[in-house]
Subunit: 141 residues, 2 copies
DNA sequence: CCGTATCCGTAACGATACTG
DNA sequence: CAGTATCGTTACGGATACGG
């Protein structure tokens, strides 16, 4: 009911398995899908400019604000803050201040964030496998 | 060399397996990564507003322009055109005019597009599996 | 049926300066 | 070290009207 990108009608995964009954008339993507569907939500988040880099670095063990800042070429502190805050709001990143270690903050992937990272790495492996085709289309344009 | 979201240093997939040698100093995401990395490119494409819906419907057997237009609530012809053109440029969608069938055009997923769709559906299953956690964070914000 | 052209508003992003 | 505040620019998307 609230899924956008997810299994369509049964037998549709591989087209033509069942001789298409031609019931395309009722297929509609509603506006409500865009508010409720968790997939599109995640896609939009991960489709922004800096989120992939931040997730990658957090997974690689970079935890401090300025460390992150220095590790991502071209990012501004403003955008790094915004990106981290949003990831925090969505539950992908945790923020803690070690206390006693003044002027220090530690960002890290939550369990959910780590789970998301796995998905992104999987997409990375897919992109790697289809690198030739992806670049071919890109170079033609 | 040109990967952004993809396997980091060996032994990093599961943190702490090897006692961290603390070599975080050289970890940098360069600006060049953003131009060359096929993952971020795909993420930005799929993170736009209408691409997921279009891919979903093409996979479901909707092929005509106005069919797509009518099947996606709220989309304008302008944005549908732009979305389709971009997907075509990236090699995910094919466009053909049946010829003799005047005033008719057929959009479809290419093999690469079908491959991408599988990845998105996989992400959909992930989102479904983590639905509770995803909504929990969202509702707190 | 399948688009293009034009204009406009908003949101994302960048640059720079300042602060606890 | 870890941010905020302010301002300007650019990209994305919506509305509307027109054309092949």
């Amino acid at each position: 009911m609230h899924r956008l990108i997810l299994d369509g009608p049964p037998g549709l995964e591989k087209e033509g398995t069942s001789m298409s009954t031609d019931r395309t008339a009722g297929t509609v993507v509603t506006a409500a899908d865009y508010e409720t569907c968790p997939v599109t939500r995640v896609l939009r988040r991960v489709g922004d400019k800096w989120t992939p880099a931040v997730i990658r670095l957090l997974a690689a063990g970079v935890h401090g604000f300025n460390e992150l800042d220095r590790s991502i070429e071209g990012i501004s502190r403003r955008m790094l803050t915004r990106t981290l805050r949003t990831l925090e709001d969505e539950g992908f990143v945790s923020r803690r201040t070690p206390a006693a270690k003044a002027m220090r903050v530690e960002y890290a992937l939550t369990e959910l964030g780590e789970s998301l990272r796995e998905q992104l790495f999987a997409l990375g492996r897919w992109a790697e496998a289809h690198d030739t085709a992806l670049r071919a289309a890109r170079d033609k344009g």
